[in-house]
Subunit: 595 residues, 2 copies
């Protein structure tokens, strides 16, 4: 059994002192998010996460899901916890108040979602689906569909799903074959097979609203011929209640490495003639709408990485404090907790530095989301939007990759006990293994970063970001005791710039070479963003005004953590810059197939 305590001090500090919360809370529509309200929300969420969701995490892992007589049975306690979760208003925390949401800014909702993912990732995938789906319906669906479905989704009364993948269409949605035939009444008959559908069926909510990618009969081939449809599990009566069963069924559950509590369904649409659905927005624009959901989902998966990492870190830290083993390397004293062993201390600091770096970036990015959406200053809104677009693949790809390393070290700290399932630490590694894959693998994120985000605009936004980073480096250089960090950060930025120059110089003529270095480039940009964010953390922690609110001891720890990150972890930046060029030059030079 593993406990979880929401890291409220870190969350408050990052939100208020590092992310753009100050600016966000002054935006039109965000005025209700006062510091006091935010504190209260974080505290309540922390209690619910620790008290209700966290204890169910290993229950879900052990019990898993079953398909019995065509019904998907979720783990014991899941339905009751979900009812409490929805009743608490948590599903729509960041969603529109017009449809029953709480309308809190994304930068406030983000630490709350992080808590849910820490407490119980497999459970949280259910309400997470509602947020992306609600955004897509809000932006693209007809008023009638909105009126029928949106409030049910925002409040969590009904569940939602994303039906994208087919056996031959994973990363490559152009290969989708599911068909939609228009009917005289304006509806469509949907038929086809979808796989890997999270919470594709369950008994937790009385209805489930599937968003399904499919092709119209006259659709052009490829991604330009994909439309999006809304297909409810139960057709909806005039009074809004669930009515007749629709022709969509779960026909199988995957047996997975992790997230056992989340049913991963193979779905069949139209076995009995066709499932009834309605088109979202215009024909053949499904991919565009899907990306509304997908951007939500990708950000959410990045936060998932931070959440799972935090949980694993907390457990490793507790174990390292408790477990007595070996003698002090220097004094020879026996009876030492292993936290005193230099290598264990290094692992714990590494875990914490990685989590804090990724968390600071995600919270900051969440603030940009809010600014992009609400700021009346169009220049500020535009800049925020460009930063979000540029760094979304980093928040998703880099945070989830870091999480793997954090979970790895968490087992390592446990020694042999880490390999025994009862210890509970292995579950985090198993659960986390999917997050660098779903909603676009790290490779897909890196291609998106290099292709759509950097090459397409000739590196403009990244150059802008680099200028901003240099400003922070100058602040560091001027701050007391931060010179060595400033020197390192300047090296990081220089490495990033070298890699960017190479990518821009070669992107046109030698795209394959550039793409062979795309994942190292994502790691490099992530690492430099981590240095940037922890530099901002250190500067904020050094402000004389901070001591009273957070305590000098806590703040000193943050500065030391930033220093550790700069010298022990971020030193990899020049090597990554070299690897980008090296991988590109040598992988494509291969005269023959991989052996």
């Amino acid at each position: 059994m593993t406990d979880y305590t929401a890291p409220l001090a870190d969350m408050r500090f990052l939100l208020k002192e590092v992310a753009e919360f100050g600016a966000v809370s002054r935006l039109p529509g965000c005025e209700e998010a006062t510091p006091d309200l935010v504190d209260a929300v974080l505290e309540e969420a922390g209690k619910f996460a620790a008290g209700v969701l966290a204890p169910l995490n290993s229950v879900g892992d052990r019990a898993g899901c079953r398909l019995e007589d065509g019904k998907v049975i979720t783990p014991p306690g899941w339905t009751e916890a979900y009812q409490q979760f929805a009743a608490g208003g948590w599903v729509g925390l960041g969603l529109s108040p017009d449809y029953g949401g709480q309308g809190l800014p994304k930068c406030v909702a983000t630490p709350v979602w992080e808590m849910w993912f820490s407490a119980n990732t497999a459970f949280t995938m259910l309400p997470q689906l509602n947020t992306g789906e609600s955004e897509a319906i809000l932006l693209a669906a007809s008023d009638e569909l909105k009126a029928t479905y949106l409030q049910k989704l925002v409040t969590g009364e009904w569940g939602g799903t994303m039906n994208l993948t087919e056996p031959q269409a994973g990363s490559d949605l152009a290969a989708i074959r599911t068909r939609a035939e228009p009917q005289a009444d304006g509806s469509y008959r949907i038929s086809g097979q979808k796989i890997f559908i999270s919470y594709g069926d369950h008994e937790i909510t009385p209805n489930i609203v599937h968003l399904v990618l499919a092709r119209l009969p006259d659709a052009p081939p490829g991604v330009k011929g994909i439309s999006m449809f809304l297909v409810p599990k139960f057709l909806v009566n005039r009074d809004g209640s669930p009515g007749a069963r629709n022709d969509v069924r779960c026909v199988g559950l995957e047996h997975k490495l992790g997230i056992h509590g989340s049913p991963t369904c193979a779905m069949s649409f139209g076995d009995a003639g066709g499932a009834t659905g309605w088109i979202i927005g215009e024909p053949n624009r499904g991919l565009e709408y899907m990306f509304i959901m997908m951007n939500e989902a990708r950000f959410g998966v990045g936060v998932q990485g931070i959440g799972i990492g935090e949980r694993a870190y907390q457990q490793a830290l507790a174990f390292a404090r408790e477990r007595v083993q070996g003698r002090d390397a220097v004094t020879g004293a026996v009876g030492q907790s292993i936290i005193n062993h230099p290598d264990v201390k290094r692992m714990l600091l590494t875990m914490r530095a990685r989590i804090m770096a990724a968390r600071a970036l995600a919270y900051t990015a969440a603030g940009w989301f809010d600014l992009a959406r609400h700021s009346p200053d169009t220049a500020a809104a535009d800049k925020s939007k460009r930063y979000v677009d540029l760094l979304m693949p980093v928040v998703k790809g880099w945070s989830t990759e870091l999480c793997q390393q954090v979970c790895y070290d968490a087992i390592q700290v446990h020694g042999g006990m880490g390999f025994v399932e009862e210890t509970g630490i292995a579950q985090h590694t198993r659960d986390a293994r999917i997050i660098t894959i779903y909603e676009g693998t790290t490779g897909i994120q890196a291609n998106d970063l290099v292709g759509r985000k950097v090459l397409r605009e000739n590196g403009a936004t990244l150059r802008e970001l680099i200028v901003e980073m240099r400003g922070v480096a100058a602040e560091l250089a001027a701050a007391e005791g931060m010179q060595s960090m400033a020197v390192r950060f300047a090296e990081d930025i220089a490495a990033l710039e070298r890699a960017l120059d190479w990518i821009l110089a070669n992107g046109r003529e030698r795209l394959a070479a550039v793409l062979a270095g795309a994942v190292p480039f994502l790691h490099l940009l992530g690492s430099v963003c981590g240095s940037w964010q922890l530099a901002r953390v250190a500067l904020a922690a050094a402000k004389p005004t901070a001591a009273e609110a957070y305590g000098a001891d806590y703040l000193r720890g943050l500065i030391e953590l930033a220093c550790f990150h700069a010298h022990a972890l971020a030193v990899q930046a020049p090597a990554l810059a070299a690897a980008i060029v090296g991988a590109g030059e040598t992988a494509t030079a291969f005269a023959r197939d991989v052996e």
Copy 2:
């Protein structure tokens, strides 16, 4: 289901052209290991691995082990496969012919054991135990114990175990509490609890020979008071057959993340008054004898890492060739196997380069074992022994860490299918997760490397190795088309030297700081050894004489692989050197406990 094909071409090339096989086969006692015999042995082993052991790998994972009525039930097919394995003479392949072994050099036995680990790691742990145990008995036990037990172990008629760990004594064997009371007849009564005992009980062999660490009543505290005892499951009759049941029992099985086919037992000695055992060698020298087994076992675990990595690589490669997804990044052509995507190619090359680097080092180290043991040239024997001692923690620690990354990429290549257990690729990640923990975690290996292998002799052997590496760098620089590799390799060596200088300069005054950088140092030394070995591979592949034996195409691939390793992977060496200093300086500077 996943197939396995022994990589005979790679094994033969490395053994004959890169490892010291030529020198070894001329040693007294090794003359029978002719090239033809070696080819025949590798081929036969490859057939047995692919045909018998590999298909049982997923069977063992799914079925696992059960404890029923005090009996440990291993997976279906385990016993039959083991009987074939033992009948084939594979258990004692590298063990003394005086006791029924084949007496082949370790450098020949090593690729064979790699095949077993590729094919079925959980199964192979059983015969692997016999090798270490036989070495310990051969070197330390009385003639009477040898006469009774050794042939049974070398031939695999009986199984063996290592009983070290207790709940409070994991990495810290000083904390062992199991007791041994001398009896009038020269035997001892053993009582205590041991945990994490691989194959601690089973029905596969008619008897099991436990080697047990325990304390005599008058033993001094700590590691200097540990003795080693031989405790058979069944006492042995005068005719050598198993007789009365001894007082040692499996009282529980661990539920583990991986290697489900290997029963991990909690063992109880002396519940009914005391298990009968006999002392191995002299009192209070148990730890020394244990390290005979442990060095065998550590080398074996390094090879396990190579074996599991190879299996995962083969499966990922097959999937990448078969799976069609997406379009060519440059030409836009559809219907591409994903192996053509630059990022997938990068992952596959990375996997192969890592495996080949670790394999070349392990085979070379195996050759040093043989030279150290058999060479009549005492200077050569001595140098080989020093190299083995220095690099044993690297073969164990670095090869097993690389294996984690290989298995990670292998899942990544599979995308969503990689997370589904039926695909079979996740098993390798789960199985591999223990190998950086057991027989000494990576942290323990790194402490051994820095403390006992480098600081204790003031870096002498490592300096000697660096001189040897510089010689290879000079050869590279003089070889056609290898200049850029030579430049990179020289950078690697310089980075290693910088780190070594810092460690030697600070090891006395600031040991904790040095130990905080011990794991990065292990990675650095591993990486530079990888560069060294692949440089040797490239030089051997460029020899005009090689083309006829191996084919020009195969050899060109090896040179390109070495080039990819130098420029895309080994570039991390300078960063690792910086991280060693950085981790040391900043982790120990922390004014407070880890948060």
